[in-house]
């Protein structure tokens, strides 16, 4: 029972953190693309329709990028940490 409870708490925390981290990484990528557009088109910089189209187009494949996939580690690392602690504490 205690193990199931631990797992549920861990999963809830991981889900919340995953959503927040995902939003953060996405937001950073959008910001980077906007800067790139501004650097390439100094005379058309700022929040224009052309820049929004460029960002939207560049963000289409973002979910399959390495950076986006690395956020899935949120679900892996805590479980690995638990396993490491179990082995270290109970190993003679």
């Amino acid at each position: 029972m205690a193990l199931i409870r631990l797992w549920l708490f861990l999963l809830a925390g991981q889900l919340v953190f995953y959503v927040l981290l995902r939003l953060y990484v996405r937001s950073q990528q959008v910001e980077r693309l906007e800067r790139r557009w501004d650097a390439r088109h100094p005379h058309r910089s700022g929040n224009t329709a052309a820049r929004r189209a460029f960002v939207a187009k560049a963000m289409t494949g973002f979910n399959r990028s390495l950076r986006a996939r690395l956020t899935l580690l949120v679900f892996v690392l805590p479980t690995l940490a638990v396993l490491a602690i179990v082995i270290l504490v109970n190993w003679q």
Binding site: L20, S27, I85, V89, N90, Q92
Partner: protein, 189 residues
């Protein structure tokens, strides 16, 4: 208003420090002088300083629990008493299941004042005599002498991970303040 904020901030800092000081492992070089079991009444006021009920601890009809204890002596001659209880899958997250093995190891390393065997005891928790609380022993290792103090790298590692997480959350919050809020004010997208 300023002083209220200062007081609340200081109290919060003390709370965080005490929480980490209680939960993180600490290491002490000691000599094991005795190991034993004792029927112990756990007062409800101090029950959070003992193993949780769901770890598989058994209590008798009077609410007493058979607890393993390890008596130790520090190099300066002062004593330190450890309890030795499983934490199981409950807080704090040590996932300790080998208290019987640990008790056997401690008994094996028991030594006298004349021929001391010095060990380093890893534990968490506080000894508060007026509340009858004891630090919970986690592991035991022999050391060369009473002056040897092994580095407490588990606590350092946990602190480092917590600092990295704090920095990440700080960055995420700053990003939200900078972009998320203005986006909301613009009305979506």
């Amino acid at each position: 208003m300023y002083y209220v904020r200062v007081v609340i901030g200081v109290l919060f800092g003390v709370l965080v420090f005490s929480f980490l000081d209680y939960t993180l492992p600490s290491r002490e070089t000691v000599r094991v002088s005795n190991t034993y079991n004792r029927l112990t009444a756990i007062p409800t006021s101090a029950s959070i300083f003992w193993a949780a009920d769901s770890t598989g601890t058994v209590e008798n009809a009077q609410g007493q629990r058979d607890v393993r204890f390890i008596d130790t002596v520090r190099p300066n001659g002062r004593v330190r008493v450890y309890r030795n209880e499983d934490t199981g899958w409950v807080w704090p997250p040590y996932f300790k299941y080998d208290s019987a093995n640990l008790q056997a190891e401690a008994t094996n390393l028991q030594s006298t004042n004349q021929q001391p065997i010095w060990v380093t005891m890893t534990s968490y928790g506080w000894r508060m005599p007026w509340l009858s609380t004891y630090p919970n022993a986690i592991s035991i290792n022999t050391v060369a002498g009473p002056d040897e103090r092994p580095t407490n790298w588990p606590a350092m590692l946990v602190c480092a991970v917590l600092l990295v997480l704090l920095a990440l959350i700080w960055r995420m919050w700053a990003q939200f303040r900078q972009r998320g809020l203005s986006r909301m004010n613009r009305g979506g997208a």
